[in-house]
C-alpha cells in the first residue's frame, strides 16, 4: 500500500504540473485581457492602457509569461492580483477561501449524512408511501432551480418567520465595538471546530471497544464530545457572542444547500444498497440471527458505501467551484464570485492561484477516495 501511495504522489505532482500549464494557456487564450474593462473609460487613453499592460507584464509573449509565472510559483510567490491591484493573490485567497470552504464543507458533510441515512431506509423498506414520498421530495429538491429556491428560503425564513438574517457574513451593528476583526474570530472558530472534530474522531475509535449496551451510543457520544470541546472555549469568552453571530449567519445557507444536495447522495445510496442487499453474505448474516439493523449497517452498508464515498470526496473537493450562485444570493463574501469575475476579467494570477488550490484539493480527494476503497472493501487490492 505504501508503494501505491508513493507512486500516486509522483503522479499527482506530474498531473498538477500539466494542469497548471493547461490552465494558464486556457486563461491566456481567452480573448482580450484585464485592461479591456477600461475600454469605455474616456479618462484612460490607449497609451495608458498600453502602459498598464506593460507594467503587468502582459505585453510579453505567452510562453515568457508562463515561464515567469512558473518560476514564481515554484518559489511560493503567487503573484499580485490584477483586479484588486496591489493586493497579493495569497492575501485575497487567504481572506476568502476559508469562508467558502467552511460553508460548503459543512453543507456537504451534513447532506451526506442525511442522504446516506435516508437512502439506507429507502432501500431497506421498498414500496409504500414512504418510498414514493421521499423519492419525489428528493428528486424535486435536486432539480429545483437553485436561485429561485434560495430566494424563497430567504423570503420564508428571514422575512416571514424572522428566524435568520437575510445574508452576509456578520451584523455590522453588533461588531462596531468588537476588540478583534471578524476574520480572526472566524479563524479561531475554524480551529476550535477542527479540534472538536478531531476529538469526535478519537472518541469514536476509543469507544468502539466499550461493552455492548453502551456501544450503541458510540456515534452520539463522540458527536456530543466533539461539540462540547468545540464550544467550550467560546461559552466563557467575551468573543462568544461574535462567534454566535457568524454561526447564525451560516445557518440558512447551510440549510438551503443541504436541502438541495441531499437527494443526490440519497438516490446513489439507495441504488448501491439495493445491489448489495441481494448478496449471499447478507442472507448468511440474517440466517445467523443478527438483528436487521446490524445486517443493514454493518454488512450491507459498508460495501454499498463505495460509490457514495467517491462522490462525497469529490463534492468536498469542489466546494469552491459550486458556490457562485449560493454565495451571490446569500451575499456570502467567499471565493465563488471572486473566482468567476477573475476568470471573466482575465485576472490571471488570482484565477491561477484559486485553480491551483482547487486542483490540489481535487487530486488529494481522489487519492483519499482510492485509499478508502481498499479500506472499505478488503477484496479490492492494488498491485
Amino acid at each position: 500500500m505504501t508503494r501505491y501511495v508513493l507512486r500516486r504522489l509522483v503522479q499527482i505532482i506530474f498531473t498538477f504540473f500539466l494542469f497548471q500549464t493547461l490552465t494558464f494557456f486556457l486563461l491566456y487564450a481567452q480573448p482580450g485581457d484585464i485592461t479591456d474593462q477600461y475600454l469605455l473609460n474616456p479618462k484612460i487613453p490607449p497609451e495608458t492602457r498600453e502602459k498598464i499592460r506593460a507594467e503587468l507584464g502582459l505585453d510579453k509573449p505567452a510562453y515568457l509569461q508562463y515561464v515567469q509565472y512558473m518560476k514564481n510559483f515554484l518559489t511560493g510567490n503567487l503573484g499580485v492580483s490584477f483586479s484588486n491591484y496591489p493586493r497579493p493573490v495569497i492575501d485575497v485567497i487567504k481572506e476568502r477561501i476559508p469562508r467558502t470552504l467552511v460553508l460548503f464543507f459543512s453543507a456537504t458533510i451534513i447532506s451526506f449524512y442525511v442522504g446516506f441515512a435516508l437512502g439506507k431506509l429507502l432501500a431497506w423498506k421498498r414500496g409504500g408511501v414512504f418510498e414514493y414520498g421521499t423519492t419525489i421530495f428528493g428528486v424535486t429538491m435536486y432539480t429545483v432551480f437553485t436561485p429561485w429556491f434560495a430566494l424563497m428560503m430567504i423570503w420564508f425564513f428571514s422575512y416571514k418567520l424572522d428566524l435568520f438574517p437575510t445574508g452576509k457574513f456578520i451584523t455590522p451593528s453588533l461588531w462596531r465595538n468588537a476588540p478583534i476583526d471578524a476574520n480572526h474570530v472566524f479563524y479561531r472558530m475554524i480551529i476550535s471546530g477542527l479540534i472538536g472534530g478531531a476529538v469526535a474522531l478519537v472518541a469514536t475509535l476509543l469507544l468502539r471497544r466499550s461493552p455492548m449496551p453502551w456501544r450503541r451510543f458510540t456515534g452520539w457520544a463522540s458527536l456530543l464530545a466533539g461539540v462540547v470541546v468545540a464550544l467550550a472555549p467560546w461559552v466563557s469568552s467575551p468573543l462568544g457572542r461574535y462567534a454566535l453571530d457568524i454561526l447564525w449567519h451560516m445557518a440558512l445557507p447551510i440549510l438551503t444547500l443541504t436541502l438541495i444536495s441531499f437527494a443526490g447522495t440519497m438516490l446513489l445510496t439507495r441504488n448501491s444498497l439495493l445491489e448489495t442487499m441481494r448478496e449471499d453474505y447478507i442472507l448468511a448474516a440474517r440466517a445467523k440471527g443478527l438483528p436487521e439493523k446490524v445486517v443493514r449497517d454493518k454488512h450491507a452498508a459498508r460495501t454499498a458505501l463505495l460509490p457514495v464515498v467517491t462522490s462525497f470526496v469529490f463534492s468536498l473537493a469542489f466546494a469552491i467551484d459550486g458556490g457562485v450562485i449560493t454565495e451571490t444570493i446569500f451575499s456570502w463574501p467567499g471565493m465563488g464570485l471572486t473566482l468567476l469575475t477573475a476568470v471573466v476579467q482575465e485576472d490571471i494570477p488570482l484565477a491561477m492561484g484559486a485553480f491551483s488550490f482547487t486542483g490540489i484539493l481535487a487530486l488529494f480527494a481522489h487519492l483519499v477516495a482510492d485509499i478508502l476503497y481498499a479500506y472499505l472493501d478488503p477484496r479490492i487490492r492494488y498491485t
Binding site: F19, L26, L274, P307, F355, D377
Partner: protein, 318 residues
C-alpha cells in the same frame, strides 16, 4: 393431432438475420412487459413523451394558428395588451413575459433545444463513462493510470474558461454545447465513480469463473461488467441531464453563451426585470420554466429507475 412424420415437412430453414431479428423482437417485448409493470417508469416515459409532443407542436402551431409577429418566442410582441407582463388569458395561455412575448410559445420552443441538450449530454457522458470505467477497472495497470489521471485533469480544468474560449472560437449552438458538456463530464467525475463500482464487480467469483471457462476480455467486459454497471449509469444519466440543463441555465444567467431562447433565459429575463421574488402575483413568469426543468429531469430519473429493474433481475419486486 396429425402431423407429417417425415422430417422434411417439420422444419423450415430461415436466414440467420431473420432469426436474430425475431429473437431481438421477442426480448424487446419481454423487456417492455417488465418495464410496464412499474408505474414509475410509465409516468417518466409519459412525461418525456409529453415534452416531445410539445417540442414537435411548436413549429406546427407557428405555421398555422399562431401569428409570428405576436407569438414568436424571441421577437414577438403583443400590441393589444397594455401592461406586460400580462396574466394568462384566452389568447396567451400562460401569459406574457416582461418583454411582451408569449410564455407558452417560449416554453415550447425551448423544449426542443433543452431536449437535445439533455439527451445528447446524458447519452454521451454515460456511454463514455461506462466504457472507460469498465475497461480501466478490468485491465488495471497503465490503462487504468492513464484514464484516471486524465479524469483528474478534466475534473480540475475550469469549466467556465473552457466554455469562454470555445464560444470565442466556435459559435456555440445548443448541440455543440451538449457535446462539450457530455465529453467533459464523460471523461471526468462520472468515470471515477463508475470505475469504483466496476472494481467491486471485478473481484466477484463469477468473473473468475467466466475467465476460467474461457471468456475473452471483450466477452467479460460486454456481458458481465457493463450490464452490472448499467443501474449506476442510468442514475448518472439523470444527474447529467439535470447538470447539463442547469449549466446551460447558469451560463445564460451570466450571458456566456449565445442561444436564442431556453428555460434558463426565461428565468433570467424574469430576474433582471425584477419579478423573480414576487411570490404568487407573477407566478406565470417563474413557475412554467422551473416546473418544466423539474419535470423533465425527474422524468429521466424515473425512466432510469424503471430500467434498473429491467436490466438487473435481482432488483425486481417479485
Amino acid at each position: 393431432m396429425t402431423e407429417p412424420t417425415t422430417a422434411q415437412a417439420a422444419i423450415t430453414i430461415q436466414p440467420l438475420w431473420r432469426v436474430r431479428l425475431r429473437l431481438f423482437w421477442k426480448s424487446l417485448k419481454a423487456n417492455w412487459a417488465l418495464f410496464k409493470e412499474n408505474p414509475v417508469g410509465l409516468v417518466g416515459l409519459g412525461i418525456i413523451l409529453f415534452f416531445a409532443l410539445m417540442g414537435i407542436l411548436h413549429p406546427i402551431l407557428m405555421n398555422t394558428v399562431w401569428d409570428p409577429t405576436i407569438y414568436d418566442p424571441v421577437t414577438g410582441y403583443d400590441f393589444d395588451i397594455l401592461m406586460h407582463p400580462a396574466p394568462p388569458s384566452a389568447k396567451h395561455l400562460l401569459g406574457t413575459d416582461p418583454l411582451g412575448r408569449d410564455v407558452l410559445s417560449q416554453l415550447m420552443y425551448s423544449t426542443q433545444t433543452e431536449f437535445i441538450l439533455g439527451v445528447v449530454a446524458a447519452l454521451i457522458t454515460v456511454t463514455i463513462a461506462t466504457a472507460i470505467g469498465a475497461v480501466s477497472a478490468y485491465y488495471g495497470g497503465v490503462v487504468d493510470t492513464f484514464f484516471m489521471r486524465l479524469a483528474d485533469l478534466v475534473i480540475m480544468l475550469p469549466f467556465i474558461s473552457i466554455l469562454i474560449v470555445l464560444s470565442a472560437l466556435f459559435n456555440l449552438s445548443m448541440f455543440k454545447l451538449a457535446l462539450v458538456i457530455g465529453v467533459l463530464s464523460g471523461f471526468g467525475g462520472t468515470t471515477v465513480i463508475i470505475k469504483s463500482q466496476a472494481l467491486i464487480i471485478k473481484v466477484k467469483p463469477y468473473i473468475e469463473a467466466a475467465r476460467v471457462a474461457g471468456g475473452s476480455d471483450r466477452h467479460i467486459i460486454l456481458v458481465h461488467f457493463i450490464p452490472n454497471l448499467l443501474p449506476l449509469s442510468f442514475l448518472y444519466m439523470m444527474f447529467t441531464v439535470t447538470g447539463a440543463i442547469f449549466s446551460e441555465a447558469v451560463l445564460s444567467f451570466f450571458g456566456l453563451i449565445n442561444i436564442r431562447m431556453s428555460w434558463g433565459i426565461m428565468i433570467h429575463t424574469t430576474q433582471t426585470a425584477g419579478y423573480l421574488l414576487s411570490g404568487g402575483k407573477y407566478w406565470w413568469l417563474v413557475v412554467p420554466a422551473g416546473l418544466a426543468i423539474t419535470l423533465l429531469c425527474s422524468a429521466f430519473y424515473l425512466v432510469g429507475r424503471a430500467l434498473d429493474e429491467v436490466v438487473n433481475p435481482r432488483l425486481r419486486q417479485r
